[in-house]
Symmetry: C2
Subunit: 257 residues, 2 copies
Amino acid sequence: MLTVTILGSGNLATHLFKALNASEEVIINQWYSRNPKTIKAFEKTVNIISDINDLEEADVYFTAISDDAIAAFTEKLPFKDRLVVHCSGNVPMSALSPKNKRGVFYPLQTFSKERATDFNVIPICIEAEDQEHLILLKKIGSKISSTVHEINTEQRKALHLAAVFINNFVNHLYHIGHEICDVNQVPFHILKPIIEETTKKIMDLNPIDAQTGPAKRNDRNTIENHINNLEQHLPDYTAIYKTLTSSILNTYGREKL
Amino acid sequence: MLTVTILGSGNLATHLFKALNASEEVIINQWYSRNPKTIKAFEKTVNIISDINDLEEADVYFTAISDDAIAAFTEKLPFKDRLVVHCSGNVPMSALSPKNKRGVFYPLQTFSKERATDFNVIPICIEAEDQEHLILLKKIGSKISSTVHEINTEQRKALHLAAVFINNFVNHLYHIGHEICDVNQVPFHILKPIIEETTKKIMDLNPIDAQTGPAKRNDRNTIENHINNLEQHLPDYTAIYKTLTSSILNTYGREKL
């Protein structure tokens, strides 16, 4: 049996709690939050504490707090030589206080409070200072997910950056599509099949081979029409249209806008 | 029974041929291409012609050719007062020659030669000059798709522009994600679950509520790290990162970069 403690109570901490708590081979002995009201709903399921001096021994401490706070918070922990991991994509393992054994347990997914997440399909990226702790993290990862990858700090930063493009920026493009529909009184849901197909396509094809559209075809008339349309109705998005179109043109060896 | 003729032999024409040909209630009496070699594979299934003077009577003529050629090509057709439609998102119905009855039959999807497409889930956007022909197009649309929408020229242009954002640009962001992975020797497939979740999320949530990430959180440290990383490894994509980040910051009432 593995004993773990969760430190923090945001979106990620809550999703991680639920996933670990659902595993029969993991015991969550404590959940720390400096603001325990936010996780009061779980008080019958787990021992919630708000003072780090009450922390008991565990095999792994999961620090699921904001990136900027990881270094100072882990420095304040009232014990040493135990395994303390953070769960962030963009923070090096070395940001953790060296007084404990360090590791990373990064679930590569977008978590919203509003939406349940099936942890089983989420890739877990792990890193540790030695083989023993790497094996331990792999073991815990495999209790909640079907894919666990050993990923070093540089690679994890790259994945985090790539995720900004393929998740955060993609979602913002969906938002812009929604705005264009609203302005022209067309229901956004008409676009949902093409949104789904766009994703399905790159499950089999390399994105560079899946590209279509006016920039790929170097169809300058259509591009000009689109820019005029945006300038008239949604000028805030003209810069995004131009920058992305230029980048596609450049990718396929055409002259930029 | 409805008799139709297809004019053109590109990606869209070929997908449209396959979908219409699969319907038992539609007869494709002729398929015109000025370059019939490209569709030689279908010569046993349909009567392929390369001279517009050989065109016979049909209930609908589908003009699936490049946007710029639609006006001149339909002007040259050797008949009048029949129903001639184009299949383009970005061309007004009025671009068709007025000597025939005009209409639009626009399947809102991304078509690739490499990939079969299930027409049944593709929204068909139709437009016509009168009620009689609108009903006819609706009837044909419903033979090959479960959703047919009556959409005017302005709305169709908006959908086409929105599709550039939610398909063409999204796919380019996938390409950039792939490049970031390549440069850092991480397999791109690790990102596929988050790509899928990004799409699934907005099937239920409004994109503005589904947004996550450093720009949404106004996390300037992470943004700065990302920009430095790109400038060092993939400077071509720095402008896209900055433009999209500024737009997200602006959407959530924060100061732009």
